[in-house]
Subunit: 142 residues, 2 copies
């Protein structure tokens, strides 16, 4: 296992060291391993998770709170899947799962709306770009 220190992580993710520590502070990522002296040691998996978080934040426009929510949902479903929490509380699990499913449906609706609007903007920008090019060509013709 090859360990990474916070500066490597920062370089690989594009986040700052401060941000990485901050994400740990607010519980967005689990506290990583530590060296004897107390220095944070990350794995490549940690880096991937951070990359994903960074992407999700940038692309989906999620706040860090929403991201926490979303990550909790994913993990909860994975946990259910792996049979963890074979708790006696069947009914509780069921209603929990239903809530997750509803939340996911909501996310999907949101995403689709956003993608649609993005495609709309893309069209618009392309049209603007075409107009700009046309103007430039007209000028060139003189």
């Amino acid at each position: 296992m090859t360990w990474l220190k916070i500066d490597d992580v920062a370089k690989q993710t594009g986040l700052t060291k401060r941000t990485v520590r901050f994400y740990e502070e607010i519980g967005l990522i689990d506290p990583p391993q530590r060296s004897e002296g107390g220095i944070r040691l990350y794995t490549q998996a940690d880096v991937e998770r951070l990359k994903k978080i960074s992407d999700a934040k940038e692309v989906l426009g999620f706040s860090l709170q929403e991201l926490q929510q979303f990550l909790k949902i994913s993990e909860s479903i994975e946990r259910h899947r792996q049979g963890y929490r074979a708790s006696p509380d069947k009914t509780g699990q069921m209603s929990e799962l239903k809530q997750m499913a509803e939340a996911l449906e909501e996310q999907l609706r949101m995403l689709k709306r956003k993608i649609d609007k993005m495609l709309g903007f893309q069209q618009e920008i392309e049209s603007l770009y075409a107009k700009a090019m046309q103007l430039l060509e007209n000028d060139r013709a003189n």
Copy 2:
């Protein structure tokens, strides 16, 4: 011409009255007409512009500064098109236009990247949703 007051605008756009005034304050929208007594009077066009701004902010994740930049580009191109600024400074106009075109290309690249990542997330969420449904069905079978 039928005038709208700020509360109507707020309701139509989904923004708050404070936000509408704030956008005016920072120059994101032009100051609207005023009544004799000094009350802001908006047109439907103002509402549409605000809706667009709101969409762009939400969907593109632009900061208000970036939005200003973007709006300036659109307007600048429209102005060029309509022959406004038939200024004697040909060369200046050209290089301005070139800059706009480059900025637009940059925006397009960014948009495409975002759309791609969004589609990726959509896949992922759909897969999560499928897993959740499967779990629910398994439970139902008991």
